[in-house]
């Protein structure tokens, strides 16, 4: 068993983007959210994306998660060109290869934890028995084995985020994308969630998270810094090794 602070050897390249740009046209004005970003992310990396507000973190994240398409640039996911995929193929990639964790949890309010976690399995066409079994298993893995029949409003914030993480994990995705996963949690609960991510990382998952908190980013094994839609810094290794104080 590896220790908490070990950096696991990364596997093959999962995400390969080159010179990605994203522009929003708002009337006269053109907002350039991303202005040429290149990045390679390998399997079993643990990456934090940092940067000031409006620097394009969420935009990049949506791009990586195949929710959004770049204005220009190349994006290969698992060696396949994303630009050539049609809508259904993108949906299939999101369903099987990507697990989203949102700042606001985004659970279905009227469904139980179990049903929430089942959802990606339904979209994957898994039969009902296997679905329930698998969803219950993953919920137990994130420590919610006794909360599977609770609805979101019967759970604490941390528990809700665990349900959301279970939902992200349930189809065994290549990467987990988390945009400010602790943004709506107090620091103690946030730390527990980070514990869970650490655990997932140790079990071979690939994690990409967006944060502007140095304490959160401190868990990652690599940190990418964005500013004004450009990568300002790409540091492999714990951020703590870096004594340069990063501008907020």
């Amino acid at each position: 068993m590896e220790t908490r602070n070990s950096i696991r050897p990364p596997g093959p390249v999962v995400i390969d983007i080159e010179n990605i740009t994203k522009e929003y046209v708002m009337g006269e004005e053109v907002v350039r959210a991303l202005r040429g970003v290149s990045l390679q992310i390998r399997r079993n990396e643990y990456l934090a994306i940092m940067g000031p507000s409006g620097s394009g973190k969420s935009t990049l994240m949506n791009m990586l998660g195949c929710l959004d398409t770049p204005s220009a640039g190349r994006y290969e996911f698992n060696g396949k060109n994303v630009a050539e995929m049609d809508d259904d193929e993108l949906a299939a990639v999101r369903n099987r290869e990507i697990g989203f964790v949102f700042q606001t949890f985004n659970l279905l309010p009227r469904s139980t934890s179990l049903r929430n976690v089942e959802l990606p399995l339904i979209y994957a066409g898994i039969n009902p028995d296997r679905r329930v079994e698998r969803a219950a298993q993953v919920l137990a893995d994130v420590g919610l084995g006794d909360r599977i029949h609770h609805k979101p409003n019967e759970l604490s914030g941390g528990q809700r985020q665990r349900v959301a993480i279970a939902r992200a994990l349930v189809n065994g995705p290549s990467i987990i994308l988390a945009d400010e996963p602790t943004g709506n949690l107090d620091s103690k609960t946030g730390e527990e969630i980070m514990e869970l991510f650490e655990n997932l990382y140790q079990h071979g998952n690939t994690i990409i998270l967006v944060t502007h908190e140095r304490d959160i980013a401190a868990h990652a094994r690599r940190t990418v810094h964005l500013r004004d839609g450009l990568i300002e810094m790409d540091h492999v290794g714990f951020i703590a090794e870096l004594d340069m104080p990063l501008a907020r």
Partner: protein, 416 residues
């Protein structure tokens, strides 16, 4: 395919949960459909009832019988050309029968004379006014589908002798003999006593069209003895093969011209009619009633459909973020489309079922309160209502469901 089924099942669950959690809203929206379906279904039962009553009344005329009359069975603009025609005499029937017998391979079977008159009829303290009194021969039962619930039609002997016997319609029997068996009782018509020998099976009336229920039939001999003045007569001729009605008609025209002794250059001075002619004048009326009725009630269903469309748009708007989340989790456009279509369809189907049940109860009550009102509930109508409500759901849900499926996932996720 399997995946589609799971998505379908999931969509139904969501739809049910959605309806439950927005109970008031769903109920109010469904109410529009409920009212619409009640209106359409009730109109459907009425149209059904009218159509059945109509066909029944038509059946009285028989589809293999030709009617020789002075006036044609259709509206005419030049009535003066018909007014001065000679009347049709009952004796023609005998002549025609002799001619038919003398014609090898005739298309005609038998000619039956009928005379009629309106009279009141009495038994004891009971009296029925304006009864259609028919004088005819025993061959009448060959040309008409006429059954007796009790007793029999008069036979050849009674017919030839002009015996004072009558066969009475169901309603007449009901009015004159509320608590007695009419057979062998004597009724009073025009001051003469007639013995009841048969009662017709109930036929039902329709919009005042002719029905056996309110008539009596007696031998022509007896009829002529007492009522011959001012009576209307015609001759009906049974056809051998109803698929060759036109040939039979031509033959009958020829025979009638001989009966009337018409030289070739003269036009026919009589009319040959058939059920079909009657039908083709009345069918458009029947169809217009049906179309107008269904159109007007259809409007109320349309209003219900607009309600469904509106509520589905609201639902899509409210759940924009949820749609974004579902897309992020791998829902395809088709999945989202299906989900909202099922939601609107489920709502409409629910409304449809409730409406159908209420319409059925109303039909039942109307049938109890006013038995003569022409309504008829059928399985076909039930199926049609269910299909119509499902279609309403699909059609009215399509636009909102389509807009939901086309939402940009990022924009949907950002939506507050």
């Amino acid at each position: 395919m399997k995946r589609f089924l799971y998505e379908l099942g999931e969509s139904w669950k969501i739809a049910a949960a959605q309806m439950r959690s927005n109970l008031t809203r769903s109920t109010l929206t469904a109410l529009g459909v409920i009212i619409g379906i009640i209106a359409v279904t009730l109109m459907g039962t009425a149209v059904n009832g009218i159509s059945i009553g109509f066909d029944k009344s038509m059946a009285v005329l028989g589809d293999d019988v030709l009617y020789v009359t002075q006036w044609p069975w259709k509206p005419v603009d030049d009535w003066w050309n018909y007014r001065d025609r000679k009347k049709i005499k009952t004796e023609y029937a005998e002549t025609l029968n002799r001619m038919i017998a003398a014609t090898p391979n005739s298309n005609l079977v038998v000619a039956v004379p009928t005379s009629n008159f309106m009279r009141s009829i009495k038994y004891g303290g009971n009296q029925v006014n304006n009864v259609f009194v028919l004088g005819t021969t025993s061959d009448f039962i060959i040309t008409s589908t006429i059954d007796c619930t009790a007793g029999r039609f008069f036979n050849e002997l009674e017919s030839r002798d002009g015996a004072n016997v009558v066969v009475i319609g169901y309603d007449v029997a009901d009015a004159l003999f509320p608590s007695e068996n009419p057979i062998d009782k004597s009724v009073l018509i025009n001051g003469q006593l007639f013995k009841v020998i048969g009662v017709n099976t109930r036929q039902g009336t329709f919009l005042g069209l002719f029905s056996w229920d309110s008539m009596v039939a007696m031998p022509l001999g007896a009829f002529n003895k007492y009522f011959s003045a001012k009576s209307e007569s015609d001759v009906r001729v049974k056809v051998k093969d109803k698929t060759r009605l036109a040939d039979a008609k031509d033959e009958l025209i020829g025979l009638m011209r001989r009966v009337r002794g018409l030289p070739p250059e003269k036009k026919d001075d009589f009319s040959i009619n058939e059920q079909q002619a009657f039908k083709s004048t009345l069918d458009p009326v029947k169809n217009s009633i049906a179309i107008a009725g269904l159109f007007i009630t259809g409007l109320s269903l349309f209003v219900g459909a607009i309600g469904i469309m509106n509520i589905t748009f609201v639902s899509v708007k409210e759940r924009t973020k949820e749609i974004g989340t579902r897309k992020a989790l791998g829902a395809r456009r088709r999945t989202i489309l299906l989900q909202f279509l099922i939601e609107s369809t489920a709502l409409c189907l629910l409304g449809g079922f409730i409406g159908l049940v209420l319409a059925f109860l109303m039909c039942f009550l109307i049938g109890k309160a006013a038995p003569s009102f022409p309504i008829h509930f059928s399985l076909g109508l039930v199926m049609a209502s269910v299909i119509v409500s499902a279609m309403t759901g699909l059609v009215s849900g399509f636009a909102p469901a389509w807009s939901a499926s086309r939402l940009d996932p990022v924009a949907a996720l950002r939506y507050e």
